[in-house]
Symmetry: C2
Subunit: 287 residues, 2 copies
């Protein structure tokens, strides 16, 4: 037996789903009808034919495997994110999701930090219970249109005015794709503030160790009992392995053939898609 | 004789002048009247008593020394910048100024580069004669309010769409002070684009070697015949020395006592202010 997992962490991302669907509906309607999304993006695996529930997720939930969805989504609360995925046919609930904002909240509470928020309006409610008066740190997320010159300057002034500036970043992504083109992600703005203040941000999203430790705590298992399945060689596979988990890379989505020669990260195995990964793991459970 | 210079490069900066004057007029009027600006900021040295012309500049111009003003100002054309300084009593003309935008134009022409501009509206006229159609590089300056999320994304898309992305930056400053507070400078946004595209920008402002080479070419002298006088240990002193010039640091303006223990840069001498520097050099000429 290669893996013998008790649990499974699955990479999911919110940003691409609507874009993929819109593109699919517009440009690939016939292809989509013929085959579902399966061959296109495993992550938005909606099954074949008329079945609208992702069969892979369904099969995992019907097994003895514990399941956790891991996302770097920071443009929405988990509630909104989950609603979107449910609308796409996913069998998913809020308490199954590990996301950067709640991880940041734990850090803030533990260290009595009061954040100035530079985040998307839609993720602000995640910080509802956090004291934000008289800030002694900055939390930066994928703020999108909130990344104005004025807002960046405001966050910068908070940091530069602190004796020990603390910058907590909800991710380190470079950019992502939306229907109207490529957009800079939180990592780029994190770098701007790091440079201006001569500091290093603390990243709480994937691939940070802290993120995977949260997921494991929520699953209630040890790292060696968990397997990460994702398409991102650095954020999913590298991050999970750093934490002692094993990790499969799916050859879909963000996957590029060049990933197989990555200088630092080597997955424990490759699979062509999520369905294949699930088949492999369930077979091991049966043996 | 310590220096025996034939020429002199003098650091000037546009951003601070109006702020300094406003502050001076408001808060230090009596002190200002008593002593002029001399003891406050050598760079805005306006003479003592009723004399409104900077005596240090005047004395240099009356000597055999060639003079060049070196600025990292990228929020205005040289014309506007010079008008502002003239209004403050400086004896200065456009063809005495070395600035990043004209340096960038020379690079663009030499390498047949067509820029997408992410700069301040007021500096755009410096690029009037440059072909900007179908851009194959990005030029970034201190764009201030033009640093919107939309504009950053646009510049990013130009870069990421190029086979060999070229990013030319008019400076690498971290931040600066204006009357309404600290503002992020071009360096922070340069870092954001560098990270997003996984590239290194080419900096044409101080402390880049290219910048000082331009100033020397315009003076028509060899590096060892020129002296830089400035208050910025890295951008003025370090940059000039890297280029083979000698450099004096004035103990005014940006100068901090900790500069005297800088791990990399050591000025050829310290002077308390510009008047002292000029006195020192003119004395050597007389000897």
């Amino acid at each position: 037996k290669l893996f013998s997992p008790q649990s499974l962490a699955l990479s999911v991302q919110g940003k691409r789903a609507p874009q993929f669907l819109r593109t699919a509906r517009r440009q690939e309607k016939s292809c989509w009808k013929r085959s579902g999304y399966v061959q296109e993006r495993t992550r938005w695996h909606l099954g074949t034919g008329s079945e609208r529930r992702p069969p892979s997720i369904h099969r995992i939930k019907a097994s003895s495997l514990k399941l956790r969805f891991c996302t770097n989504e920071t443009q929405a609360t988990r509630e909104k994110f989950v609603k979107k995925l449910q609308g796409l046919g996913f069998d998913i609930s809020v308490d199954e999701v590990t996301a950067p904002a709640p991880a940041a909240c734990r850090v803030l509470k533990e260290r009595s930090l009061r954040p100035h928020l530079l985040v998307h309006d839609d993720v602000v409610p995640e910080f509802a219970e956090i004291d934000k008066a008289n800030p002694n740190c900055v939390v930066i997320g994928d703020a999108a249109d909130n990344f104005s010159y004025a807002n960046l300057n405001e966050a910068f002034r908070v940091l530069i005015g602190l004796e020990n500036p603390v910058l907590i970043s909800l991710g380190r992504g470079r950019y992502y794709k939306e229907t109207d083109g490529l957009k800079l992600d939180v990592g780029a703005y994190m770098k701007a503030l790091e440079y201006a203040c001569d500091i290093q941000a603390e990243v709480v999203g994937k691939p940070a160790k802290m993120f995977f430790e949260s997921a494991l705590a929520e699953l209630g298992v040890q790292p060696q009992q968990a397997i990460m399945i994702g398409d991102d060689i650095v954020n999913d596979v590298g991050g999970a392995q750093q934490c002692g988990m094993r990790a499969l890379q799916v050859r879909t989505g963000k996957y590029r053939p060049s990933d197989e020669n990555h200088p630092q990260v080597k997955p424990d195995a490759y699979v062509n898609n999520l369905a294949e990964a699930v088949e492999l793991l369930l077979q091991e459970l049966r043996e």
